[in-house]
């Protein structure tokens, strides 16, 4: 898009004024429509793959259920009861028909509707992921700002090595170290679970963390945070390193731009220049990364939830896989896919809103 040749400024100013409202409207609708179509394609792809992969996996729920002394017709009877005796394609057809009407089937191990189970556990994982993201942005952001403020010096070197270290240790080992440090040596945080069982929770939704804030129950909120802090921190450390490194890189590039130099001549101090001028523009490219990392985060809580016995989706997912609870696995994977595409959409919209240039495109 070449800048107009400004032969005659006066005439030119009116011509390229910001595009009219309905033009932006049409652009947004087009974006949403294409995005919706791609989401459907992705979800369909995921549904097909997960359905057939877990049926190829050796070991089926019926074999798990056989007690000592069961006979072959027991096997046949139980398979029929759970509909596993029908050919795979028919099973898939039944499942998909059900999903379209919101019936994700019943879990074999818990004999509860999959949808209720999954939606019951989703808030816990979402809250954990959000808390981890917030911690990561705070940690990574501070590291990046300090690294930029003292760029070139020893302090930036130290931060780079710290980032390297945070990335080189898998998150479950951070979890292990945290348990030993703050769980056993200085028991200031809780080691497992999401809230102290003896507290009675006046919540209607499963979003304990947010609802306790909304209800201004800071005692409950503090207890929940004390439970979630270690798993969230274990998840946040590697993520903070990634965010920190990228934001610092982007900040350092922005600091060389002319408008930053101009701001310095206006008498602003270095720190204020970084925050007021550079941060916002440098944060934009990091935003898309944070969006992608957030989806990996949700997928990645499986191990941490297991380590901290945190009753989120990941914990349930591992049980489902170990017990070959096929309907439950399908439900969980499909929900992950939904969250993934949802978060991507939100990030793209956020990017457009935050970046003035795109807002009018």
């Amino acid at each position: 898009m070449y800048e107009y040749l400004d032969q005659d400024e006066d005439r030119q100013v009116h011509a390229d004024g910001p595009p009219s409202a309905e033009a932006t409207g049409r652009a947004v609708i087009r974006l949403l429509a294409t995005r919706l179509l791609t989401t459907l394609v992705t979800l369909a792809g995921v549904a097909v793959i997960v359905f057939f992969v877990i049926r190829v996996v050796p070991g089926n729920p019926i074999a798990m259920m056989l007690p000592p002394g069961a006979t072959d017709e027991d096997i046949a009877r139980l398979s029929a009861l759970y509909g596993l005796d029908k050919p795979m394609v028919t099973q898939f057809g039944i499942w998909v028909a059900g999903v379209l009407q919101g019936d994700f089937g019943t879990s074999i191990t818990t004999r509860q509707p999959v949808l209720d189970l999954v939606l019951g556990r989703l808030p816990a994982t979402l809250e954990l992921a959000i808390m981890a993201l917030v911690l990561a942005v705070i940690l990574g952001g501070t590291a990046a700002l300090i690294g930029t403020r003292f760029r070139g010096g020893r302090r930036e070197g130290a931060i780079d090595v710290a980032n390297g270290m945070a990335l080189s240790v898998p998150d479950f080992l951070w979890g292990l170290v945290l348990i030993l440090l703050f769980g056993v040596l200085w028991p200031i945080f809780h080691i497992s679970g999401r809230v102290t069982p003896s507290l009675d929770l006046p919540f209607t939704t499963d979003f304990y963390l947010f609802e306790s804030l909304l209800r201004l129950r800071f005692d409950l909120w503090a207890d929940i945070v004390a439970h979630m802090f270690m798993p969230a921190l274990a998840l946040a450390i590697p993520l903070a390193a990634i965010i920190g490194q990228l934001l610092k890189q982007s900040l350092k590039e922005t600091m060389n731009l002319d408008y930053v130099t101009l701001a310095r001549t206006k008498g602003y101090g270095e720190t204020r220049v970084i925050l007021r001028e550079a941060l916002r523009n440098a944060a934009l490219p990091t935003l898309t990364l944070v969006g992608v990392q957030f989806t990996f985060l949700i997928g990645g809580t499986v191990i941490i939830e297991r380590l901290f016995s945190y009753e989120g989706l990941g914990n349930m997912a591992i049980d489902a896989v170990i017990n070959r609870d096929l309907p439950l696995i399908q439900g969980i994977v499909l929900l992950f896919a939904l969250i993934f595409t949802g978060v991507n959409l939100i990030v793209d919209l956020l990017y457009a809103v935050l970046n003035p240039r795109l807002r009018h495109a």
Partner: protein, 508 residues
């Protein structure tokens, strides 16, 4: 085992300030007991579905529901919801007298109707009850006053033993029919020592003591069972004082915490054994190889070195607590004999026999390490075993389809101590659970299923065990010991079935 706090300090990434950190103080008087449990509770119906046959969660079911017959800590039966029971002379009918004055948790009275309905329900194939093949041997259950009578369609000597084993629970007929399966899952009630106050899936269950429990009100009014699936996390829970009791912790940690901390330890053998299934394929058809493999394993050294001494060496599938246990049957550790046997079949350290051994990893304590140790011992005598790790789900499928590798490590779960549920199901060819299909064994075991004379039946099973040991048709290894840790202020009575029962816990 030299415990040192320094080793712990040295481990933590940040170098700690010098000096040891005081152990968290334990509240002497425990008002609310917290137990860190090792598995999640998938479902509340103890009679249907996969969880009904999962031995590790029977402890939770036994806190909320009563079984027809009470199984005492030493596995022996005692009057439960049934005060007396038995067959008629020609064993065509069974009768049971039902305990009086018992109420369900919602206050409604417990009657013989509940027992008849419960028995009929698990006998009905449509309900998906996995033990239908046992309960199906009774039919036409009817109530006469406070007695329940049922016709014996097919005689099963162990029918009453199943009444204190898997799916042997009595459910509330009226309540169940009123609220239906989903309602029951959401708010289960039983006649047991504790009532379910609050259940958070994969997180915890809070139990309230049942004041008018027929077996006497349990000591602790409120019990919280937290589901903590990771062993190291369970240790941290107990060590930091967040939980008072926990089980299935690594033996090294059990030693460390019991030797110099306030925690008390309990390590009793339970009805859970570790064994190596042998499949009659490939090299395993050669008796010399099987016997050599059995004699080459120094079971006691493995128990002492790997399990810190917590384990009981066994040479048959019966443990000392079982009815058909015969101490005289032994398979001693004899490396020279193993080498001699292998030489007889032309094998030796330079020309080792090769086969694959399958095992799970992390399913039971040190399962993978034990197989590695066994493979190490075998390597000395000239057996080259290649380890293949698989998931427990794949093990069940392979075993069901009789495609297990020549050797497969497995643990045979909680049994009522009757030979049928240990040697029987494990070694009887046609049963989908057995791996060995030798005709000779099927011939020996066949008649014992219906044997009515108890003494003759037990002797028959002892002969089978002797035959199995002599021909090494399976390699029993050890009887597991269940490590339980308890904070001061609570004493735990361990149950031989491995079930951790809150109502057996007393205030110290």
């Amino acid at each position: 085992m030299n415990l040192n706090r320094r080793s712990l300090l040295k481990l933590s990434a940040a170098t700690m300030a010098a000096g040891t950190i005081g152990l968290p103080t334990f509240a002497q008087a425990i008002d609310e007991l917290v137990i860190a449990y090792n598995v999640n509770l998938p479902s509340w119906d103890p009679t249907v579905g996969p969880s009904a046959v999962n031995p590790t969660i029977q402890g939770i079911y036994q806190s909320v529901f009563d079984q027809y017959i009470l199984q005492q800590p030493d596995l022996s039966p005692a009057p439960g919801l049934l005060t007396e029971w038995g067959w008629n002379e020609d064993r065509t009918q069974v009768w049971m007298t039902v305990r009086e004055g018992v109420t369900w948790h919602d206050g409604s009275p417990f009657t013989a109707e509940d027992v008849a309905w419960s028995l009929a329900r698990v006998a009905n194939p449509e309900t998906g009850s996995p033990i239908q093949f046992v309960w199906g041997t009774l039919a036409n259950h009817r109530v006469e006053g406070n007695r329940v009578i049922a016709d014996v369609a097919q005689f099963d000597p162990t029918i009453f033993k199943w009444m204190y084993f898997l799916t042997g629970y009595v459910l509330p007929k009226a309540y169940y029919e009123k609220v239906g399966p989903e309602g029951f899952e959401a708010a289960p009630i039983g006649t047991g020592p504790y009532m379910v106050e609050k259940f958070e899936r994969n997180a915890f269950v809070r139990l309230k003591a049942n004041a008018n429990y027929w077996g006497g009100k349990p000591d602790f009014d409120t019990v919280t069972i937290k589901f903590v699936t990771d062993a190291a996390a369970r240790v941290a829970e107990v060590e930091s004082g967040n939980a008072h009791v926990t089980l299935e912790v690594p033996y090294e940690e059990y030693d460390r915490l019991t030797q110099n901390g306030p925690l008390a330890g309990l390590a009793q053998p339970i009805s859970d054994i570790g064994m190596i299934f042998l499949n009659d394929i490939e090299v395993m058809t050669d008796p010399n190889v099987r016997k050599a493999a059995a004699h080459a394993i120094d079971k006691q050294a493995i128990i002492d070195r790997l399990l810190s001494g917590y384990g009981v060496k066994i040479d048959t599938l019966q443990t000392p607590q079982y009815a058909a246990f015969d101490a005289s049957i032994t398979v001693p550790y004899d490396e020279a004999k193993a080498i001699e046997l292998l030489a007889a079949s032309g094998y030796g350290p330079d020309n080792p026999v090769k086969f694959k051994i399958q095992t799970t990893r992390g399913f039971k304590p040190k399962d993978y390490e034990m197989v590695q140790a066994i493979v190490g011992l075998w390597r000395k005598v000239g057996i080259e075993a290649e380890i293949e790790v698989y998931e427990i789900a794949k093990h069940f499928e392979l075993r069901g389809a009789d495609q297990l590798a020549p050797a497969a490590f497995y643990n045979w779960g909680n049994s009522v101590g009757d030979p049928t549920t240990s040697t029987g199901f494990a070694m009887f060819g046609p049963s989908p659970h057995s791996v060995w299909d030798g005709e000779d064994l099927i011939g020996m075991i066949g008649p014992l299923w219906g044997e009515t004379d108890e003494a003759k039946r037990i002797e028959g099973w002892k002969a089978v065990d002797k035959y199995i040991a002599e021909n090494a048709l399976v390699i029993p290894l050890l009887q597991y010991v269940q490590p339980i840790l308890a904070a001061p202020g609570v004493t735990v009575i361990s149950h031989a079935s491995g079930a951790l029962l809150p109502h057996l816990m007393k205030r110290a």
